[in-house]
């Protein structure tokens, strides 16, 4: 039944999303299945993501949101014993194909994680890590990248005087914003965010949200969030996951105002805030 709806979705999209539907597709996921050992964590996922849009993925804890977003840059391969079938096309090439270089993919597709994970280095070194490994050595350019990225992540003012102190001295929220800055520093094409604001205060969250709106002019953003308001506020499309399946994927307005599926509605109306 889910499958049937999935197949109809392109039609719905065109009806509801309007101009956005005409943009190029960044990711096309078809018939993706994923197992952790015996545990069937993603079931026949079909989803397309579009350029210069923010796509939100919502759903209850354990439904497979993190698993799916990690598959988009093949970080999932770090977990031993993971098996996938189906395909995910990024810019028309199947990334699940083993000939696809993950490093290339991940240079195009940045990622911000659920738990802040700065390197045990200075703030400065954290931000320039990406540019440096990709071969940028010019000190002046690096300095510029640091400033731009930290400003982008709304943390510049707090850390500009202590750029060479260890990142572990920052508070949780500051650490997460540093991680976002670190991701911005490699100027990716797509940015994956796994609950990037779950450790942030409202003011920083607001800044990040504004930033996301800003970034989508140039990039495509896929964001996992628990916060339905956040999804409603910043995303163009929303996918609702449940037990490893995509229950509904549609224009964000439709999902929130007029969901197709009873389960989506139940989840949405269980909302608060």
């Amino acid at each position: 039944m889910t499958l049937t709806r999935e197949k109809e979705s392109p039609a719905i999209e065109i009806d509801n999303v309007g101009s956005a539907a005409l943009t190029e597709k960044v990711y096309e996921t078809s018939n993706l299945n994923l197992w952790y050992g015996e545990n069937h964590a993603l079931k026949n996922i079909n989803l397309d993501m579009h350029q210069n849009e923010v796509t939100a993925i919502i759903g209850p804890s354990g439904c497979g949101k993190s698993t799916y977003i990690k598959t988009l840059n093949r970080m999932i391969e770090l977990v031993p014993d993971v098996k996938t079938t189906g395909q995910i096309k990024y810019r028309n090439r199947n990334i699940l194909d083993q000939s696809y270089k993950v490093e290339d993919l991940r240079t195009q597709v940045g990622m911000v994680f659920q738990k802040p994970n700065p390197f045990p280095k200075s703030i400065y070194e954290n931000v320039v890590y990406g540019p440096k490994i990709h071969g940028i050595k010019n000190k002046k350019i690096l300095d510029e990248i640091v400033e731009k990225s930290l400003k982008g992540a709304a943390i510049w003012d707090e850390v500009k005087d202590r750029l060479h102190e260890n990142a572990y001295g920052l508070s949780g929220g500051q650490q997460q914003r540093l991680c976002i800055a670190r991701c911005l520093a490699i100027e990716p094409d797509v940015i994956l965010m796994d609950e990037p604001t779950s450790a942030l205060d409202p003011i920083s969250t607001l800044k990040i949200e504004e930033l996301v709106q800003e970034l989508k002019k140039d990039f495509s953003i896929i964001i996992v969030t628990h916060n339905m308001q956040q999804a409603a506020r910043i995303s163009d499309r929303t996918a609702f996951f449940l037990n490893g399946e995509v229950i509904e994927y549609s224009d964000t307005n439709t999902i929130f105002s007029n969901p197709n599926d009873k389960r989506t509605e139940d989840y949405i109306t269980g909302r608060f805030g």
């Binding site: 490093e103 071969g135 940028i136």
Partner: protein, 299 residues
């Protein structure tokens, strides 16, 4: 913009490096093969002259007698005595030290004490040998007058002291690398430091701790000079730790630095003993791996 900067060279590195690293890992295998080859030919010559059955069943090791007897058991017993005594000293003291340093001591104390202890691991074993003979043995003889001048107890204790820093230092590293947040979880439940350490931190670090103990005990088994200086050189089967002993290593040293004619059966016997020692440590290591894997399953 960044992608274009990527050079071809880097891609090649990714392919070359694992192969290079595999080669370095293979060196340990080559070393083992080399050792086995070095030992095996001469061992064959030995077993050509002495039956392998006698070697393992005979209870007397008297290679220099006019009617020589080659039963390795007394040497194995000697080696085991030293290893057990060393373990009894080193494991509790080493672990306790590791716990004290990682959980109780202040950062400053830790930074001072740890390197000092590591100096213990680097003292030449010959120095330890004379320490055992001229200090530990007399002290022990004051306590237990029945103790012989040469015995298993004193070198066993000193070998324990020598390997203790290895356990302390490596286990301490393993304990320190257990994330702080896990400790916090236990403290917040009202656990004392001890309870946190024993029930949460120690189990989380168990693989590192077991590794350090195996490493240290392997060194105890292979230790030579301390035992030759303070343990005497009388192979025997008794379980008594107050009398003179000989270990496998001490025998090898005795012959290889001694007078035995090259080409004599005695000369070849050191290779047979070396081979036995090699197999002995192999079995012990397999056992330790099995135990460590069992431990890990619980968590």
């Amino acid at each position: 913009m960044i992608l274009e900067k990527k050079s071809k060279k880097k891609i090649n590195m990714e392919k070359v490096i694992p192969k290079l690293l595999f080669l370095t890992a293979a060196i340990s295998v080559f070393t083992t093969i080399g050792i086995i080859l070095t030992l095996i030919f001469e061992t064959f010559i030995f077993f050509d002259r002495v039956s392998i059955v006698e070697f393992f069943t005979e209870a007397k090791w008297l290679p220099f007698a006019s009617a020589p007897s080659y039963g390795i058991m007394p040497l194995i017993v000697g080696t085991l005595k030293i290893t057990v005594i060393a373990a009894v000293v080193a494991v509790p003291v080493g672990l306790a030290t590791a716990i004290f340093l990682s959980e109780y001591a202040s950062e400053k104390t830790r930074r001072i004490i740890k390197p000092i202890l590591e100096v213990l691991a680097g003292i030449p074993t010959i120095v330890y040998g004379f320490f055992a003979l001229t200090f530990v043995t007399p002290v022990l003889r004051d306590l237990f007058p029945s103790l012989d001048m040469f015995n298993a107890l004193s070198p066993g204790i000193v070998v324990g002291i020598m390997i203790m820093p290895m356990i302390a230092s490596l286990s301490e590293d393993a304990l320190v690398s257990v994330p702080k947040s896990i400790r916090e979880g236990a403290y917040a439940l009202g656990a004392t430091k001890l309870e946190t350490t024993i029930k949460v931190v120690l189990p989380a670090a168990i693989s590192g701790i077991v590794a350090s103990i195996v490493l240290a005990l392997s060194r105890a088994i292979g230790e030579t000079m301390i035992v030759s200086v303070a343990g005497g050189s009388t192979p025997n089967m008794s379980m008594d730790v107050t009398s003179s002993i000989q270990t496998m290593t001490a025998y090898i040293v005795q012959v290889s630095s001694g007078d035995a004619g090259y080409g004599t059966t005695i000369y070849y016997s050191i290779y047979a003993v070396g081979m036995t020692l090699f197999v002995f440590t192999l079995v012990m290591n397999l056992l330790a791996q099995f135990i460590s894997r069992k431990f890990r399953e619980e968590y």
